[in-house]
């Protein structure tokens, strides 16, 4: 027995020695980088080849666009100093900034813009956005710093398109070489890519020659890809992470108590809704949809499931310049709901299937609350969890659902948000008036005129309620207290690190 014990002890010591050996001898100090927690791996770093938010969040620091939305969502000059639109809205002339350099040393000129847009339009690039640029009928470069786009039809959202992440400008020389932009992005942005370890981290270093003087302030950013949100939060607490983008509402009280961490709430550009399939009975009955709207305590779901937010009352994100308030239309009123259901003759004998995208825990949580509230007024709602790609293909594309819960991202241009509604887009809601208003607004360039058209369209949508309009949620970002100047680009959900610094 004594021998056995000795054997065991030797074993334990051996394991410890091995572990200690591994721990020591790998600690090096250098410039303090900013550690950011990114929830997933960008599929690619080529902004033209994807629609994935993670890509745009990453390449925002590497590339620039001709124009960009400022903190308030107003589109302001970036690589273009200014632009002119012809009276018929068909000719757009951009005047480019002088002295801008790509990371590879190339000077930025109108040729780069042209090559970039060409690449976007080329079939073999396989850009999911190339149809958006299909209205460009010609491009002219009268000089190095001027580019003229001619459109085949008026398009109010053209500027917004040019300000979107996928319109990042790539250097012509590399485009011509067939450079691998997937993994080695080269742009004019504030940071250059140092390293991308897929599924692990993206390391960015300061672009000393950036065209905005004195920016960026940070020397280095590490976007750490950490899929588990609890690990992100633990990283923030332990100081291994400086910024955590979205924080699960469950973690908020714990973080509030921590003096090393500060939290910031911003309204997101999200339109949180419960879409109703107006193409199937009994949801084709307006009274039923109204009843469902009355049955939902919207603020409660926003607060509990989404960690707070503001109600919207129509299909437009709260912070948008085109937003109009209709929140008084369907206040929480379960009695009214019951009454309307009675009128419509809908009881609990009708089973409504509520499809929830299972990888979005917040929507699932919200879905459970919706179910609970609808049950209160006598509806029979069954929850079914589905995965994301099934959600897209079955619910969104094929309209095979009764109810679902989702958050639509508000777009830089309202046309992106509203296009297709009234014409049967996935909730199968048909309304000729709304459809024609939306179409007209799409080709109206003047803000006041557009706003008037959208106000009417949004009002119809608010009254006809193909959705339960819940609200725009808050996003809580967590920072170490020594971090400041971090910005999130509205409507694009991308990160702007240019002003970020350690105090």
């Amino acid at each position: 027995m004594r021998k056995t014990a000795k054997f065991g002890t030797v074993l334990v010591i051996l394991v410890l020695v091995i572990l200690m050996g591994m721990i020591s001898g790998c600690a090096k100090k250098e410039v303090k980088p900013l550690n950011f927690a990114l929830s997933g791996n960008p599929d690619t770093l080529d902004p033209q080849k994807t629609s994935g938010t993670l890509t745009f969040q990453t390449v925002k620091s590497i590339y620039d666009t001709l124009a960009e939305p400022d903190e308030n969502g107003v589109i302001v000059p970036a690589l273009a100093e200014s632009w002119d639109v012809s009276a018929d809205s068909l000719t757009w002339t951009f005047h480019l900034k002088k002295g801008v350099k790509f990371h590879n040393g190339d000077a930025f000129t109108s040729a780069d813009v042209k090559a970039t847009v060409k690449r976007m339009l080329a079939e073999e690039t396989g850009s999911p956005h190339n149809k958006e640029f299909g209205i460009i009928s010609s491009m002219d470069t009268p000089d190095e710093l001027t580019i003229v786009f001619k459109l085949s039809s008026p398009q109010a959202s053209f500027l917004a398109s040019m300000a979107s992440g996928w319109s990042a400008i790539l250097p012509k020389s590399l485009i011509d070489n067939g450079h691998d932009f997937d993994s080695l992005p080269v742009g004019t942005g504030p940071f250059t890519l140092e390293e991308w370890v897929r599924d692990s981290k993206v390391v960015l270093t300061k672009n000393e020659d950036y065209w905005m003087k004195g920016l960026p302030k940070l020397d280095k950013i590490i976007l750490n890809i950490i899929p588990e949100s609890s690990i992100q939060v633990q990283g923030l607490i332990s100081g291994q992470i400086d910024i955590v983008f979205i924080i699960d509402s469950d973690d908020i009280p714990m973080l509030k108590a921590n003096s090393d961490v500060k939290l910031e709430d911003n309204l997101t550009a999200l339109i949180m809704v419960m879409p109703m399939n107006t193409g199937v009975a009994p949801l084709d009955d307006l009274r039923v949809r109204q009843a469902i709207n009355y049955a939902i305590d919207k603020q409660k779901i926003l607060d509990i499931a989404y960690g707070g937010g503001e109600p919207i009352g129509t299909f437009m994100d709260r912070g948008n310049a085109y937003y109009k308030d209709f929140t008084d239309l369907y206040p929480y009123n379960p009695e009214k709901a019951k009454q309307l259901l009675k009128e419509a003759g809908v009881g609990d004998d009708v089973e409504l299937k509520l499809y929830l995208p299972q990888n979005y825990a917040l929507h699932v949580k919200a879905g459970e609350m919706y179910q609970e509230m609808l049950t209160q007024v006598g509806l029979n709602v069954k929850i079914q969890l589905i995965d994301w790609s099934t959600w897209i293909s079955d619910v969104y594309r094929a309209s095979k659902f009764d109810l679902t819960v989702i958050g639509h991202t508000g777009k830089l241009d309202p046309n992106g948000t509203l296009r297709g509604y009234g014409e049967g887009k996935y909730v199968q809601w048909m309304n000729a008036d709304a459809a024609s208003l939306i179409k007209e607004a799409a080709i109206t360039s003047k803000y006041e005129d557009r706003k008037a058209l959208y106000d009417q369209a949004l009002e119809i949508m608010a009254k006809e309620v193909p959705f339960v309009y819940l609200g725009s949620s808050y996003r809580t970002t967590g920072f170490r207290t020594d971090v400041s100047g971090f910005r999130i680009t509205p409507n694009l959900d991308t990160f702007d690190f240019r002003w970020t610094e350690f105090k």
């Binding site: 027995m1 056995t4 054997f7 065991g8 074993l11 051996l14 394991v15 572990l19 591994m22 721990i23 790998c26 997933g40 791996n41 599929d43 690619t44 080529d46 080849k49 994807t50 629609s51 994935g52 079939e123 396989g126 999911p128 190339n130 149809k131 997937d182 993994s183 370890v197 897929r198 599924d199 692990s200 981290k201 750490n224 890809i225 950490i226 899929p227 588990e228 609890s230 690990i231 633990q234 990283g235 607490i237 332990s238 291994q240 992470i241 990888n359 589905i386 995965d387 994301w388 790609s389 099934t390 897209i392 293909s393 079955d394 969104y396 594309r397 777009k411 992106g416």
Partner: protein, 323 residues
């Protein structure tokens, strides 16, 4: 042939025979891959979800989607897709990821070293803990070590590696910051995941080692060994353990295979860029070529592990010759 006897006899007797054996194994491997990949090919196309929709994002128009389908090659009948794919894989070309456009081979080979290292570390940790503990449990039944082993194996089976991983991180990366919370730069990043991964496997190996040792110790040749006046140490370690290892090796090999599966969860918790997460997201995104390539790759790895187990098995067990 003279002096050649024993386990490697079959290999050394004639290269021809060994080559033939390898060839047979290879054919079997190909057949396995064909069957598995065919099944997976059709299964992933039957389950709902369309990679073109994932690529396009929810705002794309129907035209966009058609264009993307054409580019991805999912616009033609499944049978045609299958034929194309078969034609590709005979050249060991698994195509390109539908989502990121990168070559499937490259994506897999990028991630494999990490997962392999993790699995090896896990199994090594498992073996270091399980085999000595299993032997001690068997030799000193109902002793402290035996109860310790029993408690351990119960825990190992019951504790999910996800939970264990979280706890390890909270304790050894947050409370006592010995290890990093995330990242994949050094071997240090792999220690906690390897423990999380090896813990449950060790429990299985431990139980088996104990059972195998108990069984071997009750066999008749142990009586012979005792009748020869051998010491207990010789009886246990020279005679019984050697035989017990035969079963242990087999199971350890299978456990090693499971490690690759267990890696998915552990890689998620520890933010490691391994195969598990690659395949997990491939499935989320319906990235057909990547899923197919991944399944074939795992099948190959499993076969190689099995092959290695067979070789070790035949080295340990002279009754099984390679033939």
């Amino acid at each position: 042939m003279g002096k050649l006897t024993g386990p490697m006899y079959g290999i050394l007797r004639g290269n021809m025979e060994f080559l033939l054996f390898l060839f047979r194994r290879f054919l079997r491997l190909l057949l396995t891959i064909l069957i598995i990949s065919t099944i997976i090919f059709f299964v992933i196309r039957v389950i709902p979800g369309d990679p073109a929709l994932v690529v396009a994002g929810i705002d794309a128009s129907d035209e966009d989607i058609q264009a993307i389908r054409a580019r991805l090659g999912t616009d033609v009948p499944v049978a045609v897709q299958y034929g194309r794919w078969l034609a590709d894989i005979v050249r060991f070309d698994f195509g390109e990821s539908m989502i990121s456009g990168a070559s499937v081979n490259k994506l897999i080979m990028e991630r494999f070293p990490l997962t392999l290292t993790l699995a090896i570390l896990g199994i090594v940790l498992g073996i270091i803990v399980a085999i000595p503990l299993g032997v001690l449990s068997a030799v000193h039944r109902w002793s402290f070590w035996d109860y310790f082993g029993m408690v351990y194996s119960q825990m190992g089976m019951a504790i999910p590696s996800f939970w264990l991983g979280m706890i390890l991180l909270l304790v050894f990366a947050v409370k006592i910051p010995l290890f990093p919370l995330f990242g994949s730069d050094s071997l240090k990043n792999l220690i906690l995941p390897a423990i999380a991964l090896g813990f449950a496997r060790a429990a299985v190996i431990l139980r088996l080692t104990r059972a195998a040792m108990v069984e071997e110790l009750s066999k008749e040749y142990i009586i012979t060994a005792r009748a020869k006046g051998l010491t207990n140490r010789m009886i246990r370690y020279k005679h019984a353990l050697r035989n017990a290892m035969i079963a242990v090796v087999t199971v350890t090999g299978i456990q090693f295979g499971y490690m690759l599966g267990g890696a998915i969860i552990v890689e998620q918790v520890f933010s490691l860029p391994g195969l598990g997460r690659l395949f997990l997201y491939a499935i989320y995104q319906r990235d057909f070529p990547l899923i197919q390539g991944g399944v074939v790759f795992i099948a190959v790895i499993f076969s190689l592990v099995n092959f290695a187990v067979d070789i070790i098995y035949s080295l340990l067990n002279p009754k099984i010759r390679i033939s």
